[in-house]
Amino acid sequence: MARTAPVPAATEPSLIRNFCIIAHIDHGKSTLADRMLQLTGVVAARDMKAQYLDRMDIERERGITIKSQAVRMPWEVDGVSYALNMIDTPGHVDFTYEVSRSLAACEGAILLVDAAQGIEAQTLANLYLAIESDLNIIPVLNKIDLPNAQPEKYAEELAGLIGCEPEEVLKVSGKTGEGVEALLDEVIRQLPAPTGQADAPARAMIFDSVYDTYRGVVTYVRVVDGNLRPRERVQMMSTGSTHELLEIGVSSPNPVPTKGLGVGEVGYLITGVKDVRQSKVGDTVTNSVKPATESLGGYEEPKPMVFSGLYPLDGTDYPALRDALDKLQLNDAALIYEPETSVALGFGFRVGFLGLLHLEITRQRLESEFNLDLISTAPNVVYEVMGEDKQMITVTNPSEFPDGKILEVHEPMVAATILAPSEFIGAVMELCQNRRGTLRGMDYLSEDRVEMRYHLPLAEIVFDFFDHLKSRTRGYASLDWKADGEQVADLVKVDILLQGDQVDAFSAITHRDKAYSYGTMMTGKLRELIPRQQFEVPIQAAIGSRIIARENIRAIRKDVLAKCYGGDISRKRKLLEKQKEGKKRMKMVGRVEVPQEAFIAALSTEEPKKK
């Protein structure tokens, strides 16, 4: 613990170390971070709440970090007091851009790997990002207290990956605290101090932006040049908008206002804006009176990759869903949505997400924090489609897919990295080939672990790819992907028709070779799920006007109680009254009554239950 901590706004850059921790979900990053908070004295042991940094309930539930935070901690080495800024990074592939901004705020990274499991694909991906950002890497094996830890084996793996000696890999236990002090010492010894021009116009990079109900948007920045002071006006360089700095400070880990932030320092700004889209991750903050001429670069607008329709189960919840999305958007610049109407599902929203986890988290938050019951349609990616008129149109919803002759369809591609034990190479290759993937390379990380690199259509991995990957590799494989251009492919829209009426919620864009299997799967599912009606109901799958699959729901022939005498009347009336209640949960598609449960079941990936 440091005796005298350096004071914010008056700390020499040479006394500052900015670092992050790169780790896979459940490899113990949060536990290690908590241990550091405790050892450096910023959080007393008795106030320690397990995994202090993960603030959102969902994060704690799922054991993952979605939004990053930054904490300033004092640490003393050789009698000199330093200021350490630990910048927490999102741990998931959907948030690659946020990760890259967090990395850009650091000079070094701790590569943290579970000594019992070895490195995972997402960690590897983030490690590449860190090396590309010229970060110094400190390799660390965690959980060395576990009985099944294999520190020697994985030290060799890490050494091979980053080009160091196995002996240089540090070994710690976040749980017991073993090796953590030495690690803090090494952070100061091995990582470079930040550099920047103290007298230049202020430039600070936003690496996180969080909406707080009481304070409005809290913006986390890393100052590169110059300094920021309270009460001065700042300017966001991507939009030119200006705001007054109502408060500026550092987290330790609770917010502490300071007299400003200087070169190399990390802290937070409060400007009174109410929406994170006014304070965007990656943007450069400068002084509006004496602005910098050039931004720090690297800013990108968030780009949704996956779209899904979200509908309230109860149509009267539509305004509540809109309010809830509005609220979530305050804290999630990547979330975009617009109203959408579905014949089958009523009023809802087409929502764009960074990826599947982003979708799942958003949906879960809408349900748990806003008490909404939702149906979501099968997720789809964004296509560029050229019709006969040679106009390219962007399709985010199968219903926008143009009718008539299609000249070209472009689909987004990803570069996927899959790490798996080598015994599963065949299984992984088979899966990727089924998903129209192309193998781009394969390397052995160690004798029995292999890294496979695939070029895959995003559409092929958004639905159930990861589940299949896990089941084929007994849970051992890990996956990482990033957007990687687009390709022209033979894609078609498959529509599902109930008694000739198209059911928009079930339309899908698929590769022509898979259209038939989608059609038979969906028509078969619906035949099981939709109750018999008084007329025969054909269920068809069609590409344009061509029927590719067909099932029939036979007409119901009897719907009458045989006996209705004096003693049956009350009971029979009550039965009808009950049916009246059940009817409220029916949706009409043309003349066909479809229970809401059928929509939910048909849109889920699980096998339908017998009706």
Partner: protein
């Protein structure tokens, strides 16, 4: 009569009816239902409120039953008078069960006599008893006719031995024509009951039963699709896979076959499950249920409907007898359906009849649905245009669906 009683409000010990019933009752016919809760064996499909000697336990016996139920008839007279219900002679009487003919004919005659002395019968009143072909004789039927019974309804169910076996019916099918002949000799109207769709019954089996029933030359036939009621032996056998489940499509096909065979033999339908040789032979007692008549149901588990109030008696014969002995009302619960519920009841009951329901009685949304019902061949177009909803054969098979459309849900 199903064994499970509905939920309702508690019934008062004095059995008195609300004041509004007196006004409602005026102008309606009055009937009596007498429940005889005894059987010699319990059939595998039956969930009716009936007891074999061994199931009955102590406290109530077949021997004392006629006396007990007669006391409820006295009680009825007193309650209806005290409630201000207008005095009405009885239009129809129906003895059901159970197996009414398990009681000596003299007992049934005594109970009927009690109704006559308390209320009187209208001239030409219809008095029916259900009967098991095994538990009647030439003499017993003649005795019933002499006591004022006019009609007997035989539980024939099937003419095919393997079907009767699944149903647990013990009578010998050859006994039925004999019983029908005796009833005829006694001057009684004759109805036979059939059940179709029993597990293992083929379409040919069913045809055999229908043709056999027609061969006995009855005046009236009821044909019911087998219902698998919870808690019956048959339900358990189906659940365990020992007997195949029933099938609605099979039921529909058999209904159509029966309807056609009956029609060819000169029978016409007048209710979903009932056919007669012309309107004169329809069961007036059952018509009273469907057309909103009043009736008092006497006996354990019996349901009553007077002046818009519905109530039902305690189920077990022993509990029933205790109430009667104590001089308090045997009713277990009651309900007073509101206007919406009455409309629902009228719609579901009247549409089952060949006389149908007036379009003018429907709410606007229900009237709007009629065109669609015509298009779907569920109601007779000519009669609908003339203002009456009458179901087609297809409509009778989908009567519940039609009711939901007419009530707009």
């Amino acid at each position: 009569m199903p064994a499970v009683l509905p939920d309702g409000d508690p019934a008062p010990a004095d059995g008195l009816l609300p004041a509004s019933c007196a006004h409602e009752a005026a102008g309606r016919s009055m009937s009596f239902y007498v429940h005889i809760p005894f059987c010699s064996v319990r059939c595998g499909y039956c969930d009716f409120n009936t007891y074999t000697a061994t199931e009955l336990g102590s406290g109530a016996t077949q021997a004392s039953y006629a006396a007990t139920v007669s006391r409820e008839i006295d009680f009825a007279r007193q309650v209806l008078d005290s409630s201000g219900i207008p005095d009405r002679r009885i239009d129809t009487v129906f003895f059901g069960g159970g197996t009414p003919t398990l009681l000596p004919a003299a007992d049934l005659a005594r109970v009927l006599g009690r109704i006559k002395t308390n209320f009187g019968l209208v001239p030409g009143a219809e008095v029916t008893t259900e009967a098991n072909p095994d538990s009647v004789s030439s003499e017993s039927l003649a005795e019933l006719a002499a006591a004022g019974f006019t009609r007997v309804s035989f539980g024939m169910q099937s003419a095919v031995p393997h079907v009767l076996k699944v149903l647990d019916r013990t009578h010998n099918p050859e006994r039925v024509p004999q019983a029908v002949a005796w009833a005829r000799e006694a001057g009684l109207e004759v109805s036979v009951d059939l059940i179709y769709g029993t597990p293992g019954e083929s379409l040919a089996d069913w045809r055999t039963s229908v043709e056999a029933a027609l061969g006995y030359n009855p005046d009236h036939i009821s044909a019911y699709a087998l219902i698998i009621e919870d808690g019956t032996k048959l339900a358990a056998q189906i659940r365990r896979g020992q007997v195949p489940d029933i099938d609605d499509d099979d039921h529909a096909e058999k209904y159509q076959l029966a309807d056609e065979l009956f029609a060819a033999a000169g029978f016409s339908w007048y209710e979903v499950s009932n056919w007669s040789r012309g309107p004169r032979h329809a069961c007036r007692h059952n018509l009273a249920y469907w057309q909103g008549g009043d009736w008092w149901g006497a006996g354990p588990g019996a349901h009553s409907h007077v002046g818009g109030l519905r109530w039902w008696n305690v189920k077990h014969p022993a509990a029933y007898q205790q109430r009667i002995d104590a001089g308090i009302s045997p009713s277990a619960g009651r309900e007073f359906p509101d206007a919406q519920a009455v409309q629902l009841e009228r719609t579901m009951l009247l549409t089952r009849l060949n006389t149908g329901m007036q379009v003018s009685e429907l709410e606007p949304a229900g009237r709007k649905a009629v065109a669609g019902l015509i298009a779907d061949q569920l109601v007779e177009p000519g009669q609908a245009l003339a203002g009456t909803i009458v179901l087609t054969q297809r409509g009778r098979l989908l009567a519940d669906l039609v009711v939901r459309e007419l009530l707009d849900f």
